[in-house]
């Protein structure tokens, strides 16, 4: 092998060195009740991964239809889409609730058919401690608390959890 060829191969190996291919496993998972602040390495990653490689379009129907995983908690009446959204966005929801406004909170309001997003934001901030009592609240727990608190506030009488 000539020096020239060696140089080319060395260079080829070097030029391709700074790579990071985003790999994701395909675990569509039932773990929708994801913990807040769990980070990318945890179950949130798996949820994201399940969508990154969304191989079949049925995955749309799966979310919107029935998350056939055996209900974690019989008191959860939220639709599968709401549960999935809450799971994938739990961190952002915590932040928006503390801030009193935000896009994720507005989107959750839309899913719950609540029109007054300002009031909902204020409500979430006022009730922050009840909604996020610990540093490891799960999204399903959040929805249960929300369901309970909204029922007592007549501003959200029309909400559909």
């Amino acid at each position: 092998m000539t020096k020239f060829t060696k140089a080319i191969l060395l260079a080829a190996a070097l030029i391709f060195a700074p790579l990071s291919a985003a790999q994701a496993d395909n675990d569509i998972g039932c773990g929708v009740g994801t913990e807040v602040f769990k980070g990318q390495a945890g179950p949130v990653q798996k949820i994201l991964a399940s969508w990154t490689n969304a191989i079949t379009f049925q995955s749309v129907s799966i979310t919107l239809g029935v998350l056939n995983c055996g209900s974690l908690n019989d008191t959860i009446t939220a639709s599968a889409q709401t549960r999935h959204f809450a799971a994938a966005n739990i961190d952002a929801l915590a932040r928006d609730a503390a801030m009193g406004r935000g896009e994720s909170l507005d989107t959750l309001a839309a899913l719950l058919e609540i029109d007054d997003t300002d009031a909902f934001g204020q409500f979430a901030q006022t009730n922050y401690d009840a909604l996020f009592p610990t540093a490891s609240v799960t999204s399903d727990e959040l929805l249960v608390s929300l369901d309970r608190l909204i029922a007592t506030d007549e501003r959200f009488a029309s909400a559909q959890l």
């Binding site: 020239f4 980070g39 994938a88 503390a98 507005d106 300002d118 540093a135």
Partner: protein
């Protein structure tokens, strides 16, 4: 037999015959009553741009690998459907109307866009039948608008260095009429490299070694990936598709479910395949004149924009967490910034007096920023420690107790940023003239992609540079010689400026053929010699003043060529430079210096100094002038050059 004109002398008979003919053969001129397609009309239909679009044969012919894949997966019903649209049309029609009603219905449900097309032209009955899976899927999306989503270049991953495009369908009634982009359904095409290691992944991606699939995911998942995880700013361009046109696109999207197509990085990539999808509603989407041959995501947007004024609307800018953090931190006084850092590090608690004594809105901003900074450092990419989780939780709790809503200006505006569509064309052709060691030359240059430091920076990643297949041919009139002056296969540089608390690593890598003036065999003069060169390294960049970009790199260089003593040399070097652009990019000035060593058969120094200026003449034309002095292998050479650049 009979004498000519016999019939004509009997006009009454002729009229009688005609009347009889009309009675016996009722006219089928009324097409709406009985649209019996003739062979000619079916043939014409097979060449209809809409039909070709549905077969993904409108913009280019599928490659052999694509044809094989599409036929195997049943996208083409006829074995020759990949190259014969007429046969495919006949086969589709036959399958949709075949004797077995279940199989016919299954085909109609699997290919609803084709069914709609054939039904419109009377080739199949309009009734599709019950398609529960398709209808459930279609109802889940509902009435929608379309948006083209463009995450900016991500130079940490070569396959993302030109950006990415996704097509988002926004349900009109997702939020009672309000905007809820996070609930949009996003279609994109991606290749799955599996477990292939880096170099193999890149090579296979360049030559079509992977099959990619179309996928649909909620937009809130995509923002987690591109925005939160990869820190990419996103531009969301609304497309002027009508509801009916969106419906047409969605009918076709369903047909793509099982499809796998070869991914070829520069030509058949995410944006190219999305153009094929849009073509089913908007026929005639062309790249500008077919040049450049590569299709980068920006080119896709340009092709759609070129279709008609207003096809692509003004974009909405979605700032990444890093961008938001930088903007928010820049607005703080130094003392406030220190408090943020201390909170983020856990050195002080949220109820520290120095924090609490601040006015509520400032206290709120400090707590928010401390949270965002901690989150960005910990949770955004990894799993945080228990202590970090507690810190995040306590910061939010403290923030919530303030009881005031975050300011509206929490959203970061694009500001001075120009969206990618406003940038210069990504391909260029250049004509230059100059003097090279006393010899005059004329030079032609062609570069299919993408962006250089000397170009107007608007619309491109700050400090980033990508040159692909950069080719220069130089002609010396005095000697009548033509030579390949440069052929750079790929040269990529990312040099994002340091903006505390972010100190991104800059890196550069480049490989190709270059030319140096070296001593000729009898030592009497300097002759241009071709050399293979690899150069790469790491560094840092800064932007102390707006539109001024400074960088410094530590690199290694490897050169090889017959003109060198010992055929090869390598060595370390330091490279520093600066570039400044005027507002709006009307002119750019650039200077660079290299100092290093080259070790081969002998040891020598490498010193280079280069300056250049570019002036924008029009949207598509620029003028540059510059010169350099280069000393290596014991000899020094100078060059001065002026050129006109035409961008495409």
């Amino acid at each position: 037999m009979g004498r000519p004109g016999a019939v004509m002398r009997r006009p009454f008979c002729a009229a009688l015959l005609l009347a009889l003919a009309c009675l016996l053969f009722p006219a089928s001129a009324d097409a709406s009553a009985d649209p019996a397609p003739t062979p000619e009309s079916v043939g014409a239909l097979a060449r209809d741009p809409h039909w070709l679009a549905l077969l993904h044969q409108a913009r280019h012919r599928p490659s052999r690998a694509a044809r094989r894949s599409l036929t195997e997966r049943g996208f083409y019903l006829h074995p020759e459907g990949a190259t014969d649209p007429a046969r495919e049309l006949a086969a589709t029609r036959a399958a949709m109307t075949e004797a077995d009603p279940e199989r016919a219905r299954a085909t109609r449900c699997r290919l609803p866009a084709r069914h709609a097309f054939l039904a419109t032209h009377g080739l199949v009955p309009a009734e599709r039948g019950a398609c529960p899976e398709f209808e459930k899927w279609r109802a889940a999306i509902g009435d929608a608008r379309a948006t083209m989503v463009f995450p900016e270049a991500f130079l940490g991953n070569p396959s993302s260095m030109f950006g990415h495009t996704l097509l988002r369908f926004d349900p009109v009634d997702a939020a009672g009429g309000r905007d809820a982009p996070l609930l949009g359904w996003t279609l994109d095409y991606t290749a799955d490299p599996g477990d292939d290691p880096g170099p193999l992944y890149l090579v296979r991606g360049l030559v079509g070694g992977y099959l990619g699939r179309f996928g649909i995911a909620p937009y809130y998942v995509k923002t987690r990936i591109y925005s939160d995880w990869q820190d990419r700013d996103i531009w969301e361009y609304p497309l002027a598709l009508s509801r009916e046109e969106v419906d047409q696109v969605l009918l076709h999207v369903w047909e793509l479910e099982r499809v796998a197509l070869p991914y070829v990085f520069f030509t058949r990539n995410c944006s190219d395949y999305l153009l094929d999808v849009l073509e089913t509603a908007w026929q005639g989407l062309d790249r500008a004149g077919g040049f450049p041959p590569a299709v980068t995501p920006i080119d896709t947007l340009r092709a759609i924009e070129a279709r008609a004024p207003g096809s692509v609307g003004a974009p909405r800018f979605r700032a990444s967490p890093a961008t938001k953090l930088q903007a928010a931190l820049a607005r703080l006084e130094p003392e406030e910034g220190e408090l943020v850092e201390a909170l983020a590090a856990g050195a002080i608690p949220p109820d520290d007096p120095r924090v609490v004594e601040k006015p509520d809105d400032l206290e709120g901003r400090i707590l928010t920023l401390a949270y965002d900074l901690t989150y960005h450092r910990t949770t955004a990419r990894n799993e945080p420690s228990t202590a970090e989780k507690e810190r995040l939780s306590s910061l939010l709790r403290a923030r919530s107790r303030l009881g005031i809503a975050a300011e509206e200006a929490a959203t970061v505006e694009a500001g001075e940023r120009v969206d990618p569509l406003g940038g210069h064309g990504t391909a260029r052709v250049e004509v230059a003239g100059g003097v090279d060691e006393g010899e005059a030359f004329v030079e032609w240059r062609i570069q299919p992609s993408f962006h250089e430091a000397i170009d107007a920076p608007d619309g491109f990643a700050e400090g980033g540079e990508i040159r692909f297949l950069d080719t220069r041919l130089r002609y010396y009139p005095e000697h009548g010689r033509v030579r390949l002056q440069e052929f750079t296969v790929l040269d990529v540089s990312t040099a994002s400026p340091w903006r505390p608390p972010f100190r991104p690593l800059a890196w550069h890598t480049g490989i190709g053929l270059q030319t140096r003036r070296l001593s000729d065999d009898d030592g009497s003069g300097l002759e241009p010699e071709s050399l293979f060169r690899f150069q790469g390294g790491i560094g840092a960049a800064a932007a102390p003043v707006r539109r001024l970009h400074l960088y410094a790199f530590g690199e290694v260089v490897v050169e090889a060529g017959r003109g060198l003593e010992g055929d090869a040399a390598a060595g370390p070097l330091a490279r520093v430079g600066a570039s400044w652009s005027s507002k709006g990019g009307a002119t750019t000035l650039r200077a660079e210096a290299i100092a290093g060593g080259l070790f081969g058969a002998d040891a020598s120094e490498w010193l280079r100094i280069e300056i250049e200026q570019r002036v924008t003449l029009t949207e598509k034309w620029s003028f540059t002038v510059g010169g350099h002095f280069d000393r290596a292998y014991g000899v020094g050479a100078y060059e001065g050059r002026a050129s006109f650049i035409r961008y495409f």
